[in-house]
């Protein structure tokens, strides 16, 4: 542009010499000019031909393809060029070759590309290699936490000899676990202590009351005594229930497990409860699928769980109701299900009913101590089964199921890991 202004000031006659002179100073191969007659005949300069696509407006234009040029090259690559109509009718074209600049650009581009790929590819490989080890460690940590969650509180997260961030974290968690275990021990100790401390006075209280009962008493005293005896009986029941639950929550206790036939257990529970249901004007229907496979568990505890479920169902179903007691296979598990058409358990209370001593508000006037379902839940958890509470399919009442995953399924789940 500057060159164009300069040449514009020079008069037409001396232009040719001036151009030739400037050629000496210009960077050869980059700057070029061409002087043409109005009809396009070449007069002077390295540029040999007019280009139709270049407008003669005296402005700089970018040309994708080069202009014809004398040696050293026949054509410039891309270039910036300007065409000017002189007053005397000659045409001047000035061009600056963009080729070398774009060549440099290309070199830089290539350098960037190679540089980038040379760092990126080893980087990716390195990332994958480096990541493998921590990932394996995290997987170990994960399996370890799972074992802790499942009740194995003595377990600690593994530490590596490297003492890195992961180890710092694991160490912090281990210290925390240590604390939790200690607290659990203290709580359990306190519970056991309370239990033990209460056992003896309760035994004594019972003994005193029993002794009173053997004395000749007048009828009003005897009545009061009977009430006291009944109360102490109910305290003892609750107390023993609590103790049993805390025993059961110690989930490592699986020594009493043996293989048994669930169908026989279900049938026995049905036979046990059928007379009571009949007396209360209820129908207790038994449905057992054929060929239920054997399960492993503590039969006595499971029977107790079923007794509690059936007892609840009978307690809460109004006269004339129907209770379905079913044992069937569903997918990979065996379900034992008690489904009644009583008032049901509101959805928001289903979690709470398995807590100790919790009772649904509307049932407070019913006899019972609110330990039934939490006992069932403890028993079910001990076995690794799942307790599910749902609305009965008939739209009212509760369906409580014990879902027992079948052993072969457990085995096949365990195999790949």
């Amino acid at each position: 542009m500057q060159r164009a202004h300069y040449y514009q000031k020079i008069d037409d006659a001396s232009l040719k010499d001036e151009l030739a002179a400037s050629e000496v100073y210009s960077t050869s191969g980059i700057d070029a000019y061409g002087l043409f007659e109005a009809d396009g005949t070449h007069i002077a300069g390295d540029l040999l031909r007019l280009r139709a696509s270049l407008p003669g407006d005296g402005q700089v234009h970018y040309l994708e393809r080069g202009l014809s040029i004398a040696l050293p090259r026949e054509q410039t690559r891309s270039s910036h060029a300007l065409m000017q109509h002189r007053d005397d009718g000659r045409i001047l074209i000035l061009s600056r070759d963009g080729g070398s600049i774009s060549a440099v650009g290309g070199i830089i581009e290539q350098a960037l590309f190679w540089g980038f790929s040379l760092t990126l590819i080893p980087g990716l490989i390195g990332w994958w290699l480096l990541r493998r080890r921590p990932l394996r460690r995290v997987q170990r940590l994960q399996s370890c936490t799972e074992s802790i969650v499942s009740g194995n509180l003595g377990e600690r997260l593994p530490l590596s000899p490297r003492r890195d961030e992961l180890d710092m974290l694991a160490n912090a968690v281990n210290v925390m676990l240590e604390h939790i275990e200690q607290l659990m021990h203290e709580v359990k100790g306190a519970c056991d202590g309370i239990a033990h401390d209460l056992r003896t006075p309760l035994t004594r209280l019972r003994a005193h009351l029993d002794q009173l009962q053997q004395l000749p008493l007048d009828s009003s005293h005897a009545e009061t005594l009977n009430m006291a005896l009944e109360e102490s009986e109910s305290i003892m029941l609750r107390f023993q229930g609590l103790l049993r639950i805390s025993e059961l929550e110690d989930t490592r206790r699986r020594s009493g497990f043996e293989s048994f036939q669930p169908a026989a257990l279900i049938t026995q529970a049905h036979e046990f409860f059928e007379p009571l249901a009949q007396e209360q004007g209820l129908t207790l229907l038994l449905e057992i699928s054929a060929d239920l496979p054997a399960l492993s568990g503590d039969v006595s505890l499971l029977f107790e769980a079923l007794v509690n479920l059936l007892d609840n169902a009978i307690k809460f179903t109004p006269e004339g109701g129907v209770i379905h007691f079913r044992g069937y296979l569903a997918g990979n598990s065996l379900n034992i299900e008690v489904s009644d058409n009583g008032p049901g358990i509101p959805e928001e209370e289903r979690e709470s009913v398995i807590r100790r001593l919790y009772r649904v508000d509307s049932t407070r006037q019913q006899p019972g101590h609110g330990l039934g379902l939490s006992l069932v839940s403890a028993i079910v958890r001990l076995h690794g089964f799942v307790l599910s509470i749902q609305e009965s399919p008939r739209g009212c009442g509760a369906t409580v199921s014990i879902i027992c995953p079948l052993p072969e399924v457990k085995a096949s789940l365990a195999a790949p890991s």
């Binding site: 309760l202 035994t203 003994a207 029993d210 002794q211 003892m236 023993q240 026995q268 503590d298």
Partner: protein
């Protein structure tokens, strides 16, 4: 007169046991520690022993296994603060005849002691049981009254057998549940009552023995003579 040996370290509990046994016509010897208890048991002359599972000096299990290894077969009722099923199994496996967990009612305790006294000797198999005009054939699993068969369900038959073995004797709900259904927890009042009610209806009539309910305690099969 039956003689009982009470091995129990807690004085109040021991006193309650002793008083109850005495009022049921037992002659009682009380020892407050394992050493004295063991020597008293070995010297013999007792019809039944109540044994605390946890004593200051000896473990109850040690005492009982020592007794059994010496060939002393006196029935033993173990009384323990350990209610765990495992503990019960341990207690029974080491030679205890019955197991009672604290806190217990003395009614339950005496009922169990009485039943232990009546326990048929091991190895003696009986076929027929009779109380009043009721006759049971244990092999054919049948009940008859004056030559007439009375059909019973298997559970009812087991219940009646237990009652007839312990006729005139108080049996508690948990004892029945244990003997007939084979489980060691308290299933609640109602359910056993209903089963007894059914059985009662089947055997009532004439001057047959009746199952009486003793409020707050249990049941007794009593002859009407």
């Amino acid at each position: 007169m039956n003689r009982a040996l009470v091995i129990e370290d807690d004085e109040v509990t021991a006193k309650a046991i002793v008083n109850t046994l005495t009022s049921h016509g037992f002659e009682v010897l009380w020892t407050a520690n394992g050493r004295d208890g063991l020597s008293a048991a070995i010297s013999g002359g007792h019809d039944v022993i109540t044994l605390d599972r946890m004593l200051p000096d000896f473990d109850g299990l040690t005492i009982i296994s020592t007794l059994r290894s010496l060939g002393i077969q006196t029935p033993v009722l173990m009384i323990s603060a350990l209610s765990d099923v495992d503990e019960r199994v341990k207690g029974l496996r080491s030679g205890g005849d019955d197991y009672l967990t604290k806190p217990f009612s003395t009614v339950e305790m005496i009922a169990r002691v009485e039943v232990l006294l009546r326990r048929p000797l091991a190895g003696v198999s009986e076929r027929l049981l009779s109380v009043g005009n009721l006759h049971i054939d244990l092999i054919e699993q049948s009940l008859s009254r004056e030559g007439v068969q009375i059909p019973l369900l298997p559970t009812e038959f087991k219940l009646l057998t237990y009652f007839m073995r312990n006729a005139g004797q108080l049996v508690t709900r948990t004892m029945l549940f244990q003997a007939v259904w084979g489980y060691h927890f308290d299933p609640g009042t109602n359910i056993i009552d209903v089963h007894i009610g059914r059985l009662r209806k089947k055997i009532e009539g004439g001057n047959s023995p009746v199952i009486q309910t003793i409020r707050g305690s249990g049941y007794v099969l009593a002859s009407q003579e």
